[in-house]
């Protein structure tokens, strides 16, 4: 049964808290820890890297000029990488075939079993 009237709520609670006593010791640095938690809770959350990237993709990348540049640059990277890799592979195959030609003709370079 509630004996305290609603208007006297704060007054009654204050009185009760003043009377309240406890012997239990507080943990070490309790007060600082509480303040730290309060500060953390109040600080605005820093934007994560992913949020920044997502924001950039959502707002900046769709701009026509930037989108066209982005696609053109990636296309150029793909072409250049393919061409470079192909050149190396062709040189490797041709070098191997040349060595094979010599090994076929020169008994002293034929691999022994």
């Amino acid at each position: 049964m509630n004996t305290i009237e609603p208007g006297n709520n704060d007054e009654a609670l204050g009185k009760l808290l003043k009377e309240w006593r406890t012997d239990a010791p507080l943990p070490l640095h309790f007060q600082e820890a509480v303040w730290r938690r309060i500060e953390r809770a109040q600080a605005p959350a820093a934007a994560s890297v992913w949020d920044t990237i997502a924001d950039w993709i959502g707002t900046v990348l769709p701009r026509p000029a930037l989108a066209a540049s982005y696609v053109a640059i990636l296309l150029a990277i793909g072409v250049t990488a393919g061409w470079t890799q192909a050149r190396q592979e062709t040189a490797r195959v041709k070098g191997e075939l040349g060595e094979r030609y010599i090994r076929v003709l020169d008994p002293y370079q034929t691999p022994r079993q």
Binding site: V60, E89, V104, L105
Partner: protein, 153 residues
């Protein structure tokens, strides 16, 4: 947001497609060489810009040389085996070892003469400029391997 991701993925997909297309296009000649019936001769044709008739003649010379080369190979193998056995049986020079070493040198000389004859024949079948280039290339790899190694360092 959706549009941005679409552009992002489109760019990456185009880059990958461009890479694959260019790579396959530019390696097609090397793939053709590897898939031919005699890849080393196909390589020779491409490397020294041979016409079909020159290539046919060189293929004939090549086919004629191979049995002689195989026979030399067999002799070299037998001689190496003999020399290995003689060297393992003693710790000093013996008349047998001397004769085996001399025989190895004779075989090597004969092999080099045969090779050189073949190289000259092949080079004469090529256009003069390509023939000179071919001779320089084969001689460097067969007669002057030491120089090649020194140069590579």
């Amino acid at each position: 947001m959706k549009k941005g991701f679409f552009i992002l993925v489109l760019g990456l997909a185009l880059a990958a497609a461009a890479y694959v297309c260019v790579y396959f296009l530019c390696t097609s000649s090397a793939r053709n060489l590897e898939q031919s019936s005699q890849p080393e001769l196909a390589w020779l044709k491409e490397e020294f810009h041979l016409s079909d008739s020159e290539f046919t003649r060189i293929s004939e010379l090549h086919a004629a040389y191979l049995p002689r080369c195989a026979e030399t190979c067999r002799q070299v193998e037998v001689q190496n085996e003999r020399l290995r056995a003689l060297l393992a049986a003693t710790n000093q020079m013996t008349p047998e070892i001397e004769s085996a070493v001399a025989e190895s040198a004779r075989l090597r000389g004969e092999c080099q003469r045969n090779m050189l004859r073949h190289f000259y024949e092949v080079s004469r079948t090529m256009p003069p400029e390509q023939g000179r280039r071919y001779l320089a290339w084969v001689q460097e790899r067969t007669f002057m391997p030491g120089e090649g190694m020194m140069r590579d360092k």
